[in-house]
Structures are given as C-alpha cells and as structure tokens.
C-alpha cells in the first residue's frame, strides 16, 4: 500500500499540490495516530482525484515498487522512521581517504612519508567498502612500475608481489578463423618492456600492509555513503553507511547509524565512476570544462592451465573478432609467474557500443573459442571471474580535480592510458601528488584557506607538470579516432600515426556523445546469436558470478536504485529491449513475466552485484543510480 501511494505521489504533483502529500502528516494535520496515517485506503478516500489517477496510471500491479532505498524514498517523511534516533557519532582526522585501491593507498603512504620526513603528526584514515583490502580490486594487469619506484623504491626487498616481468609482447588482429600479428614498434605505448604482470589485488593488499606499518588507520568493511559539508559548502568528510535497514526500507532491531568521519581534507579514490565522485561532479561543477567521461567494461578470468602451455611473462593483446568493426574492444591474456601455472585472461568492450543486443559477458566467452586462443584453455581449470568498468576518456575527460575540502585521485578522476592499457601507474602518481598537495595545505602556516575544508590547490598544477599529463596528452587522439566510418581499421591506422608522432598533431578529437546516449533502439539493430557455453572453456553467467564470491546482506534495500520504478519497462524494455539484462556481468537485472497480466517487470537481484558500475554508466535512461550497499558486501576477489 505504501508502494502505490509512493508511485501515485511521484506522478501526480498536479493533483496533490505538493510532492510529499501522503507520505508525511503535513496535509493530514488532524491525523495524529501513526497507524491512521499509514492506512492507505483512508488516504486515498481523502484524495478522490488522486485515487482515480493512481489506479489508471500507476497501479502497483503493472509497475511494482522496486526501489526502497532512502536516497530515493526519503526517511524524513517516512512514518516508519519517526521515532528512530538518527544521531551520528563523529571523529576527526587530518586527512580522510575514501577508497583503498592503488590511488588511495599511494596517497595514504605518501602522506605518512611526508609526515615522518617533516617530523609532523598526521592522522590519516582510510575507508574501504570491501570486507578485506584488495577484495574489490580487479585489473588485467600489466603494471608500469614507474610510480611504485618513486613511492617505495625498495619495493622488491619489501616483498611487493611483482613477480612476473614481461618477456614477450604480442599484439594481433583476430578474424573469425585467423590471427594477424601486428608488430609493436619501439615507442608504442603498447610496448611492455620493463613492466610487470601482477595480480593487482595482491599488490593493493601489500600496499595496505605498508600503509598500516606507517600508521595509517584503515577501516575495511565500511562504505562511505554520504558526503558531509560544512556550512560554507566545503567538504567536511563522509558518513559511513547505516546498517540494519530492512529490504522494504524500514528500520530493523539492529539498526545502527553510520559514523561521521571528518577531516580537514578528504581525498576521494573510489575508482572508476565512484558514486560519491558522481555527486561531487554535480555539486562543484567539476565537469564544466571537460568532455563527459567515456567508459569500457572489463571482464576477467583466472585460469590454471596445463604447465606445458604456460609461458610466464607472456603478454598478448588482440582486437577484432568477435567484435564488429564499429564496436571498440579487445582481449588480454597474460601468463603469470605464480606457484601454479596461472594465466589472466579478459575482454574489454567500450561502453559506447550502439547495439543493445550486445552482451559483453557472452562476447568474452565467445572470444575464448577462437582457434588460436582455445588451445591454452584445454586441460585447464577456471578459478576466478570478475568484472569492472574502466575509464577510456583520458585527456579530454579529466575534470577539475580539486574543490573546497578535498580532491579526486586515480580512476575517480580518470587517468587511464587507453592504448597503453594501463592506469595503475597514473592512479598511484595522482595519489602521491594529491598527498603532497594536501600536506602543503595542512602544514603551510602562511596559506589562509577561505573555507573550513582545505582545498589542495596545488594538486591540479602538480598533475599538469607531471608525466601523467604529458603521457595522457600524447595519446589523447587514439580512442576518439575509432569513431570514424571505417571503425576499427580507421582507428588502428590513425592510432599508429599519432603514436609515432607522440600526439604532436595540433588538434584534439572529441569523444562525441556520452556512452549512455549511444544505444540505438532495438528495432534498428540485429539481435545477436551467441553460442551456448560448453562448460569447459566457456561458461554461463550464474556459474561465473558464483566464482566472484559476491554476497550482500539479503535483508537490505536494493542498492541499485531507480529514480523512477516505471522507466525500465516503459522505456528500457520497450525501446531498447532491456539492455541492462545483457550488459550487467553479474545477472542483477532480469525482466520476468508478471504473474497475472501479460507484461514484464524488472527484477533486481541486488545480491549478485559485483560493484562494476556498468549499469549506472550505460543505462540509456540514466535511471539507475548505484549507491553503496552495507559495507563488507560485494565481491570477494583474491588477487584479481
């Protein structure tokens, strides 16, 4: 009953005059008792006009209520929350870092190093939503150690898990039956000499140990869910998520309010398409002068293969099949040097694809069956699976990086080098530069901040003067060059040229429309017939999701929130044939038939979510807003 009332209110502002007509007690001042306010029929009787409209357009039967999260259904006017104590405990640090990935960890470590060098006391806190440090990290990954060499020069002695130096580097174009090798000339960013294949989750875990040894307070299992502001509008910190809210949005017996973590400077290192960064972009208009970010989705598996086929240090990349010439993407296959003969294999697809029938997961499974790729998996065993969105916007999409009270580092800002297929080194360097800048802001007695929250103003200049900027600038035209009539082939040709001349051409190509606007209606596109998984080399989605180890507390509001519960069926399904059921790499979104009428509804299996953020990016209606679930939930990647 609450549901239909909600839906009715949202759609019928005319009839009611104000948005929260029947939720709160404002229009029913005579009704004192809690239960009376709850009685749906009493409410409807009083609003006769509304009732007719409610039944006509927003019958709960056709559009069942999906979203119960308090970011969409506010608690301030929800009668169930009337007597709940919403006070929060607070604690203050000097610097708070949101997110424990390479960028966040580098910032934490650098801050403590600077504090030690300058004999200053600095309280540095880091929050991370994953239950264990490294648990939500997923990357190829072939890492350029340049940033690590600067941060911790003796990383080898300290046991950093960079065990696989790259020995062989191959790049090929695949067709349905063959493989065409492409030479990697010296000077190409794709050349991996001097780099290491790593399991980034383990590297981050090691970075976490280094940070802890330096005295950083780390709190894994706690998700930052809300940005807190001073009265002057500057960021004062974050609040962690509340726990103990039931699936329908009501408080449970063990409801506990989150905690306020305050800091003089807050560094946001949430990774690609962070949900708090999304709010900061809006609040501080950080994206006014840059292009919208463009993204890709990367899926990855770890395999233990037949030792005779294992060549540690081999790095292979392909483009082409199974994608068509107008869909950007490609594969990676890295041989790791681990105690068991392990390889990391994966596939990335640009989220600017236009055919709503594309399923990135199934393209990945199809790729593994290519005649030149299949042999390596024969006799092997898949041991892990995961997926994550990644930034492809590069130079053109770098936003303003600082704001009163903090700054953005790593993939939250977006420093991934697409042709080099590397972002970790830039993320780490940005973390280090932000730390240096924050340290200056904190310790410089002469600088007077206009706001209570300190803005690390020198950070943006430091980035511009660093190799991060010059590197991204030199390859800025590679990714956008793929938007040409010849698709992949035009892009490869242009990319070859621009990389040879190190991006010295005077123009900067634009990415064009943001990813979510790129989908064509389903009626204009051809459905794709994907081969059935054979269970040996390719697998079905749900078996794969089980391997991620993902889990969430079942009794909590779904964290994939919809701004409007009716849009998935009314628009996404009707116009685009429900692309969310295909682009989600964890099977969260399903269109299931309604019980008694012929029609469908969206079912959200929030427990499957692996926090990849693709849905928030690619939803053509931008109706899905990913918010953070209870901390500790999500995938449990081990060295992905």
């Amino acid at each position: 009953m609450h549901a239909a009332r909600q839906a009715a209110c949202r759609g019928n502002y005319l009839a009611s005059g104000h948005a929260h007509c029947c939720q709160g007690s404002t229009s029913f001042s005579r009704i004192d008792t809690y239960s009376a306010a709850m009685r749906y029929s009493a409410t409807l009787r009083k609003m006769r006009g509304l009732s007719w409209l409610a039944k006509r357009y927003y019958s709960e039967q056709i559009f069942p209520k999906i979203t119960t999260h308090y970011s969409i259904v506010p608690r301030e006017t929800d009668p169930r929350w009337k007597d709940v104590n919403m006070e929060r405990f607070g604690d203050e640090a000097d610097v708070l870092i949101v997110g424990g990935g390479p960028a966040g960890m580098s910032a934490a470590i650098r801050l403590k190093q600077l504090a030690q060098q300058n004999s200053k006391e600095l309280r540095v806190c880091l929050v991370e939503k994953s239950a264990e440090i490294g648990g939500h990290i997923l990357s190829g990954a072939c890492v350029d150690p340049v940033a690590l060499n600067e941060l911790i020069p003796d990383w080898k002695d300290k046991g950093a898990p960079l065990n696989t130096p790259v020995t062989t580097d191959r790049f090929s174009i695949l067709t349905e039956t063959s493989r065409i090798p492409v030479p990697i000339l010296p000077g190409f960013p794709l050349r991996n000499h001097g780099n290491y294949v790593v399991r980034l989750g383990h590297v981050v875990r090691w970075l976490g140990e280094q940070a802890e040894a330096l005295g950083v307070e780390m709190y894994p299992g706690y998700a930052a869910s809300e940005v807190l502001y001073h009265e002057d509008g500057s960021v004062k910190g974050v609040a962690t998520n509340d726990v103990g809210i039931a699936k329908d949005g009501s408080p449970k017996d063990n409801f506990e309010r989150g905690m306020e973590l305050l800091a003089k400077c807050t560094i946001f290192a949430e990774g690609c398409h962070g949900h708090l960064a999304k709010q900061l972009f809006q609040k501080f208009s950080l994206r006014e002068k840059c292009e919208p970010q463009t993204y890709g989705i990367g899926l990855k598996e770890l395999w233990e293969v037949d030792p005779s086929k294992h060549r540690p240090g081999t790095v292979e990349h392909t483009v082409g099949w199974p994608l068509d010439a107008h869909t950007y993407g490609g594969s990676f296959l890295y041989h790791l040097n681990e105690p068991t003969p392990m390889i990391a294999v994966g596939f990335a697809i640009g989220l600017d694809y236009s055919n709503p029938y594309i399923s990135p997961f199934r393209e990945f499974q199809k790729f593994k069956h290519h005649p030149s790729v299949k042999p390596i998996f024969e006799g092997g065993k898949r041991i892990a699976y995961g997926a994550r969105a990644l930034n492809e916007g590069g130079f053109q999409s770098i936003p303003k990086l600082t704001f009163p009270g903090g700054c953005l580092v790593g993939c939250s800002a977006g420093f991934l080098n697409v042709p080099k297929i590397k972002g970790t080194h830039n993320a780490m360097k940005s973390g280090m530069l932000a730390a240096e800048s924050a340290f200056e802001a904190l310790t410089d007695e002469n600088s007077k901040s206009e706001t209570l929250g300190l803005e690390p103003k020198s950070y943006e200049d430091k980035i511009r003067n660093s190799w991060v900027w010059s590197e991204l600038k030199s390859i800025r035209n590679v990714r956008p060059s793929f938007h040409n009539p010849f698709g992949l082939y035009g892009g490869l040709l242009y990319s070859g040229i621009t990389m040879l001349i190190r991006g010295k051409e005077p123009w900067t190509l634009s990415h064009g429309d943001p990813d979510h606007k790129r989908l064509k209606p389903a009626s204009e596109c051809k459905p794709i017939e994907y081969p059935k998984p054979d269970g040996v080399i390719s697998f079905d989605l749900l078996t794969s999701v089980a391997l991620t180890g993902t889990n969430h507390e079942g009794d909590q509001p779904p964290h994939l929130t919809l701004k409007d519960d009716t849009v998935p069926v009314k628009r996404n399904l009707a116009v685009f044939n429900g692309p969310e059921q295909r682009f989600c790499p964890a099977g969260v979104y399903e269109f299931v038939p309604l019980e008694d009428t012929s029609g469908q509804r969206l079912q959200i299996n929030a427990q499957n979510c692996i926090h990849c953020k693709t849905c928030d990016i690619k939803d053509p209606s931008q109706n899905i807003n990913w918010v953070v679930p209870e901390g500790g939930g999500g995938p449990a990647y081990n060295g992905m």
Binding site: Y219, G244, N254
Partner: protein, 219 residues
C-alpha cells in the same frame, strides 16, 4: 568471523548486559589476521582478547582437538565459568570443539543452544535437536555451543571498532599453553562431488523396468 561464533559472542555480550556475566574474554587461534577477528569481537562488546598465534604449516594442520586443548587450558587459567563457542566452523563443519573442550575440562556441555537462561546458579539451556527442542539444566562451570537461532548478532559499528583498538589483546603461543599441535588427522584427498549425469526421459513403465534391470538396481 565464523557466523556461529558471532552468535556466541553476541550471546556473551547479552549475558554481560543482563549482568549475568562480569567479564568476557574472546580467544582466536590463527595467524596475524586473527587479530582482526578479535577486534570485531571487541567492537561488539568483549572486554579483552587473547590471540593464540598459529601460522604457516602449523596453522594448515590445526584441528579441533588442538583448539579444544587450547580453550581448555585458557578456561582453567582464566577461571572462566562459561565457555561459549559457535556450534561448528563453516570451513570444516566439524562440530567437535565444544564437545571435546567439555570432555577435557570434565565440565557439562549444552550444545546447539537456541536459548540460554540463568536460574539459581545453573544454566537452563534450550537445545535444537532433530526431534524438536530439548531443555536441559547444567551446573556451572559449563561449555555451551551456539546454534543459529540463539540471537541475531549486532553490527560492529565503526566507532566501536575504533574504540576496540584500545582494548588489550594478549598474544600467546600453543607451546606456552603446553599444547602439542602435531596433526592427528591426515587429509588424504579432497574431491569435487561427481558431476551430475543427465537424466533420461523414458516413454513408459516397461522401459523403466528394463532400465532398472539393466542397471542392476532391480533383480
């Protein structure tokens, strides 16, 4: 933390809140990461922790008998009145530690507890058994093992985790307690269950009888 142990810790904290217990000590046997588990327990309301450090190959072969001996020794040293544990660990599903600890201490045991009450210096415990619920009375000191429906554990909130950093954790080794951790059980093999064979649809009962006879299931 093992979910059943979480329930046990929650019950201990509730006993303290009801003033039935005075002090709660949490014990964890394992490598350095066990300290994190102890911090969660401390954040839930436990007073102090004891970390029995067991790592590397010694940890790989740590078995319920060793844990029971460790808990028994600590219970005696700490002069505990109640030893409360989860009924089983979700990695090995052994369901042995509570029972063996009680035997070593020669204390009564109340396993699979779904309700615990104190009456006249004794514990009245409702146990979940196959046939339903059984209520028993045990004299103190006793060993109790927690089952799923005993309670719903509270969240370890971040402020409590921060406060827990100040609570003491004592580190000891099995040798200090006089416990020999040499393996008593050897794992011979671990296998996946056999893959499910596809079913066959038969047209009629006669065919079914033929198939059953062929398979040797029927004479």
């Amino acid at each position: 933390m093992n979910p059943f142990d979480e329930i046990a810790v929650e019950e201990a904290v509730r006993l303290k809140e009801k003033k039935i217990a005075q002090e709660i000590v949490a014990v964890s046997c394992g490598p350095a990461q066990s300290q994190e588990t102890l911090r969660t327990a401390l954040a839930m309301g436990v007073d102090r922790g004891i970390h029995v450090e067991v790592s590397g190959p010694e940890y790989d072969t740590l078995q319920p008998i060793h844990v029971s001996k460790i808990l028994a020794k600590l219970a005696q040293d700490e002069k505990a009145d109640i030893v409360i544990v989860g009924k089983q660990a979700i990695d090995d599903d052994s369901n042995q530690t509570a029972q063996m600890t009680a035997a070593l201490l020669d204390w009564p045991q109340a396993t699979f507890a779904s309700k615990i009450e104190k009456q006249n210096g004794e514990l009245q415990v409702t146990r979940e058994i196959d046939g339903g619920l059984e209520t028993i009375k045990v004299k103190l000191p006793a060993v109790v093992s927690a089952d799923l429906r005993l309670n719903e554990p509270r969240y370890a909130t971040l402020p409590n985790i921060m406060k827990a950093k100040k609570k003491p954790i004592k580190k000891v080794s099995p040798k200090d307690l006089g416990v020999d951790t040499a393996a008593r059980i050897e794992v011979l093999s671990v296998e996946d269950p056999p893959t499910r064979q596809a079913g066959v649809i038969l047209p009629d009962v006669d065919q079914l009888i033929v198939k059953l006879k062929e398979g040797g299931h029927v004479q």
